[in-house]
Amino acid sequence: MSVVVTSGLTRRFGSITAVDRLSVDLPASGVIGLVGPNGAGKSTLIRMLLGLVRPTAGSATVLGAPISSPARYASRVGALVESPAFVPGLSARANLVSLARLRGLPLARVDEVISFVGLAGRDREPARDFSLGMKQRLGIAAALLPDPELLILDEPTNGLDPAGIVEIRSLLMRLGQAGRTVIVSSHLLAEIEAMCDHVVVVRSGGLAFSGPMSELLARTRAHIDICAEHERDTEWLRAALTDAGWTVTAVETVLRVAAGASAAADINRAAAAAGVTLSRLVVVQDSLEDIFLAMTGPSDGELAADGAAAFGEVA
């Protein structure tokens, strides 16, 4: 069963296309990562799924109901869109009570979510006095109020310290393991890799990848970084390896050879044959970040731009 199905979903704001003919099918249960660079259309997609923004074209369903009728699934969906929003002068509890009243939920549910997110004992303090981490937890508590089948969280770890990120991550994984479907938007790839079963990568409003995390990780490649013992041999070594058929890029005295671990011995032999002794030979496995940058392209991400500047392609 699918929790979210979109077909040609498009949203334009004037001349800007935030979401561009996006067709994706998200499975029920587990934690689903929604990844993309800033401005890729993640938040707009989430807003459309929640009925906050109407699509320009295309269609989508959430829990089997069309997004043109969000009232049909609102009671089964909890969401945290961008930063947590509350009445700062009210206590955390009063804020949650207000939302529980709006949803027609019993007040006992407020106690349950307060306890679940670990805010018990602090819930009578004004929300404005909360730290960023506590506000995020309060936001997640608000999203959990309706005991949702589908939880949509937009950047839930934004601004959190490492301990807070670990805490929220474990909380979301618990929810996923408990049979709920959690869609988490983030640009923190390590976080996505650590907790998601399924991942959707969006680029410029369109779909770059959708599938199990294992499938995405299977796309990782390796390269080998080598250094000549004497710096003056670097150019000679690069030419020798290129002549031997390898693709080599250079950053200062480090040569990066596009090859897997199995080629390490061959590279070492080729260097020796060229009369160069290697002072360093390291097999480096591409990270999820490398795959992400390869998918989203240098124009979409600052990291990609930095990477392009740092590595000069060598013919």
């Binding site: 906050l52 609102a74 929003a85 700062p88």
Partner: protein, 265 residues
């Protein structure tokens, strides 16, 4: 809709907010009564149609409705307070991002809007009770100090107070709806208050001078007539009818904008 109203009332249960709203209302009630009675005793004649406050004469103050004359005299100032709070409480839903949470929890946006209006109307009624109570408490010493006879005030005080309360409250509801409409459209409390107050206190006076003739149907004049229970130029029934038209247009506009516009805040 009831759920939306109850939810909104929980969010309004903020001591600072209520203290500011009720405190300003009480302060204006004291100030207006003091000024109205002292103006009569000093013999100063205020120009008719001065923006914000209309000054009753000594005969009106000494009459059966003199006890609550301050309420209708200050109706525009109470209106400004009401407009400001309705606009602020509506616009902060946008500026705080709370609107995202509310609309995703209750996608029937009309229910959210009507629930908010009802909740604001309830708090406005409470503010009007404060204004009326303070007015009654202040009117006696103010009249005594100004030498205005109060013997006729006891003729039918409850009826007089209730009538003044209902008229002023009806006018305040229209003021509030104006604030809400402007806030929904502009999504900014400052812009909504500036436009609302600026129109009634400044622009309408200019419009009156510019077009001359019969201008009693204009918003500010209608609300003044409504708060006073009718004037010589605009009967009470006409004021009520016009006010209902303004409310219907305002809520209709707010509803259309609120239900059709994307929530991008």
């Amino acid at each position: 809709m009831l759920a939306a109203t109850r939810s909104e009332l929980v969010r309004m249960r903020r001591p600072r907010l209520l203290a500011a709203w009720f405190g300003l209302t009480a302060l204006f009630a004291v100030m207006i009564n003091t000024v109205v009675f002292s103006t009569v005793s000093s013999g100063v004649v205020m120009p008719p149609g001065a923006p914000g406050v209309s000054f009753p004469d000594s005969a009106t103050l000494a009459g059966p409705d003199g006890l609550v004359a301050g309420l209708s005299a200050a109706s525009t100032l109470f209106g400004v307070i009401t407009l400001s709070f309705w606009a602020t409480l509506t616009a902060t839903d946008y500026s705080s991002g709370l609107i995202r949470l509310l609309v995703s929890a209750q996608p029937h946006r009309w229910r959210l809007l009507v629930g908010k209006v009802v909740a604001l109307a309830i708090v406005t009624a409470a503010a009007m009770v404060v204004a009326t109570t303070v007015n009654v408490l202040v009117a006696f010493p103010a009249a005594g100090g100004a030498g205005v006879p109060t013997s006729e005030w006891g003729t039918n005080p409850l009826s007089s107070i209730a009538g003044a309360w209902i008229n002023a409250y009806a006018a305040l509801l229209v003021w509030g709806v104006i604030g809400l409409v402007l806030a929904v459209v502009s999504r900014s409390a400052a812009v909504a208050i500036a436009i609302g107050v600026g129109y009634v206190l400044v622009v309408e006076s200019i419009v009156k001078m510019a077009i001359g003739g019969d201008t009693d149907w204009l918003l500010g004049s209608t609300l003044t007539a409504l708060a006073r229970g009718g004037t010589t130029s605009l009967a009470y029934a006409s004021a009520v009818g016009l006010a209902l038209v303004y409310v219907a247009i305002g809520l209709g506009l707010a509803g259309v904008v609120f239900t059709r516009r994307d929530v991008t805040d």
